[in-house]
């Protein structure tokens, strides 16, 4: 056993030396997302946006030759962990980025940071990583899960809306969303209903909802659940009767399938394709030109992720061994983000604006339109649990 440990130590030392010696070599970024299966559509949005970011940077991130290795996590935590190990130990990437799902992120992020590699999350925002488990090497370009429902809660509170009916799938994120909502919404809740994860038919719940006769409905139904719920809500004739407020339910990945059934829907979000700033407009225009469809926030934050890495490498002048320098640079968020200028909180989560969006009839199809700013420079609720100081 002792000789084995010796061998292990030797191997580690050799690996570290190899990394050191390759400081001037090209930068390698491992990008993990879900590419196969139904959720592969989100992965496609993210991957296409990474490609666009590379185009905008002349295929050189931080001025170095760049190789991005895309890996599929199949939406499984253990597969995500395995591809992360592969990226770290076999491909020896300098950065790992991506990750859609909270559970995959919770398995992957500690693996990456534990190996001394920088991790840039571009979607999942589990509260653990914003609070107790925050890490110097972990950044996110998206948000903490709760921030978005908090924005919706605040908006509805501001509007003095009451008698709200709440629905979400029966799993951890669903309950987190409702908790985030309730952190700012203090009005009367008619009922809280949790449905089966992956449920297809909501007719029974919609029937019960109508019988309860609320003044407003707040839901969280990501992906195909959202498509189904919105269609059935509209088909039940409730669209014109009870206003629907949602988070992570209507976006550019699902809008094409929902169509008119989304009209009039309110969403809260930190970014929308119609956001008026130079970086965002350039991103949206070039994205549509190159890929022929409208980008989503999944894409925008992935695009940002590459730009964040770019800013870090430039700050250390290509010295990829200088992790401290890169972390310091990333904390400045010194790049042209699609959301406009923002700052990082102590826990490496963005302090950013949140907007109220509404689904409206656009030129040819239904699109999301920013109505107003709900939060300016909103911090997540967990940063005080994060022991990091800087």
């Amino acid at each position: 056993m002792r000789t084995l440990r010796g061998a292990a130590v030797l191997a580690l030392v050799a690996a570290l030396m190899a990394v050191q010696a390759r400081a001037a070599e090209p930068v390698k970024i491992g990008f993990i997302t879900t590419l196969s299966g139904p959720a592969g559509v989100i992965g496609k949005h993210m991957k296409d946006s990474v490609e666009l970011a590379l185009d905008h940077l002349g295929r050189k991130v931080g001025g170095l030759d760049t190789e991005v290795i895309y890996r599929d996590d199949q939406r499984k935590a253990d597969v995500g962990k395995q591809v992360a190990d592969e990226l770290l130990k076999k491909d020896r990437v300098n950065f790992v980025a991506g990750i859609i799902w909270s559970n995959v992120m919770l398995a992957v992020a500690p693996t990456v940071t534990g190996a001394g590699t920088l991790m840039v999350g571009t979607n999942a925002g589990p509260h653990e990583l914003a609070g107790k488990m925050c890490n110097e090497l972990y950044f996110t370009t998206s948000w903490q899960n709760d921030q978005t429902p908090e924005a919706m809660g605040k908006h509805m509170q501001d509007q003095k809306i009451t008698d709200v009916y709440v629905m979400a799938p029966n799993y951890a994120a669903g309950k987190d969303m409702v908790n985030g909502f309730k952190r700012y919404f203090k009005g009367k809740l008619v009922d809280e209903v949790y449905t089966k994860l992956g449920q297809q038919d909501y007719q029974a719940e919609i029937t019960a909802l109508r019988a309860a006769n609320p003044k407003a409905v707040f839901v969280f139904y990501p992906g195909d659940m959202g498509i189904q719920f919105l269609k059935q809500y509209a088909q039940a004739g409730l669209r014109d009767q009870i206003p629907l407020f949602s988070v992570y339910t209507v976006d550019e990945t699902t809008l094409p399938a929902v169509g008119d059934a989304a009209l009039g829907n309110f969403e809260a979000r930190y970014w929308s394709p119609d956001l008026k700033n130079e970086a965002s407009q350039k991103y949206v225009a070039d994205f549509k030109k190159k890929f022929g469809y409208t980008p989503s926030y999944y894409g925008a934050q992935s695009y940002d992720g590459i730009l964040l890495i770019d800013s870090a490498i430039r700050a250390v002048k290509g010295d990829l061994g200088n992790k401290k320098g890169m972390v310091a640079a990333m904390r400045k968020a010194d790049f042209k983000s699609t959301r406009g200028k923002f700052t990082y909180n102590v826990n490496h989560h963005p302090i950013e604006n949140f907007y109220l969006l509404k689904a409206v009839k656009g030129a040819s199809e239904v699109e999301m339109q920013i109505q107003k700013t709900v939060f300016e420079n909103h911090k997540d609720a967990y940063y005080q649990d994060c022991p990091m100081k800087w």
């Binding site: 139904p38 498509i227 399938a257």
Partner: protein, 307 residues
């Protein structure tokens, strides 16, 4: 809760049950006659939904899209039967489960390659988008009412075909004694291909009707497949009658469980606990039902003659 609400939830349960029946009928026929466990049945449901959506895009006519989808799914089913499944009839169920599991992977990915992974847009045809006033105080979506009617019509049609026609006689005979049917000089291979195709078309019918209310996307058939398997196991594999009863029972139990379990629990164990236990229990309900049925009747409610 008013009795009107209960009635409406029962209609919802019936509608879900009818949807399950359309899938279950084909699956149970194929099992009863060819002794084939076809996990890829959900893929045919998906294919039906995709064909209908695509055809609606080309023609703009709902009726044409229905006809096209039915024929196309029938054709796909027959091709799959001839190419892949025919050799599996004499194999044990394990081989069948595995091979058709492989077909699921193939179909999900093939659909994603052709139509992309983004869910497709479909909606209820204009003529059916309204509501029916069934009773004072009870309005029901027209489209869902149509689903119920179509499902019941199919059930009736299947009953007539199976019990009154020569094809039905062969089907019944085939379910109980395969060699005898062959001895009658019937082209068994062709019979099998046709039956499989019809089963596929029924699944396609389920899929095309589901499209406007659910999501048309790769893998859409997987979850419903598991529920349909529960249906035919509860009903008794190989029995059309069992499929109908099983489907309605499962549809009702699932729907009513989702609708009333939580309110009922909250009166006994309190609202907070009910909020945790209710949804969890509701999602397990049909599996609990199945385990219970099989504990008392290991062959389901209506065991096929072949035992």
């Amino acid at each position: 809760m008013s009795w009107l609400l209960v009635l409406e939830q029962c209609l919802n349960g019936l509608q879900f049950g009818v949807m399950l029946f359309l899938m279950a009928a084909g699956l149970t026929l194929v099992f009863g006659i060819m002794n084939l466990v076809n996990l890829a049945h959900g893929s045919l449901y998906m294919v039906g939904a995709y064909f209908a959506t695509a055809a609606f895009g080309w023609t703009g006519s709902f009726v044409l899209s229905v006809v096209f989808s039915l024929l196309a799914t029938l054709a796909v089913g027959m091709v799959v039967e001839v190419v892949a499944l025919r050799t599996l009839y004499e194999r044990d169920h394990l081989d069948q489960v595995l091979a058709t599991f492989g077909l699921i992977l193939f179909f999900n990915e093939a659909v994603a390659m052709v139509w992309g992974r983004t869910a497709l847009f479909t909606t209820v045809p204009k003529a059916l988008s309204g509501h029916l006033q069934l009773l004072p105080g009870l309005r029901y979506p027209a489209y869902r009412a149509v689903i119920i009617l179509v499902g019941l019509a199919v059930a009736l049609l299947l009953y007539v075909v199976v019990s009154r026609t020569r094809l039905g006689m062969l089907i019944r005979a085939g379910a109980s004694n395969r060699t005898m049917v062959a001895a009658l000089g019937v082209n068994v291979r062709l019979l099998y291909t046709i039956v499989f195709g019809v089963g596929a078309a029924l699944a396609g019918l389920g899929g095309l009707m589901a499209g406007p209310i659910y999501t048309v996307q790769p893998g859409m058939g997987d979850d419903i497949l598991i529920q349909v398997l529960v249906v035919i196991v509860i009903g008794g594999i190989g029995s059309i009658r069992g499929a109908l009863v099983g489907a309605v029972v499962v549809g009702m139990v699932d729907t009513l469980g989702r609708a009333f379990l939580k309110p009922m629990l909250s009166t006994t164990i309190g609202p907070a606990a009910a909020n945790d236990a209710g949804p969890a229990l509701a999602s397990m309900l049909i599996y609990i039902l199945m385990a219970a049925v099989l504990s008392f009747r290991p062959q389901g409610l209506f065991p096929a003659a072949r035992g």
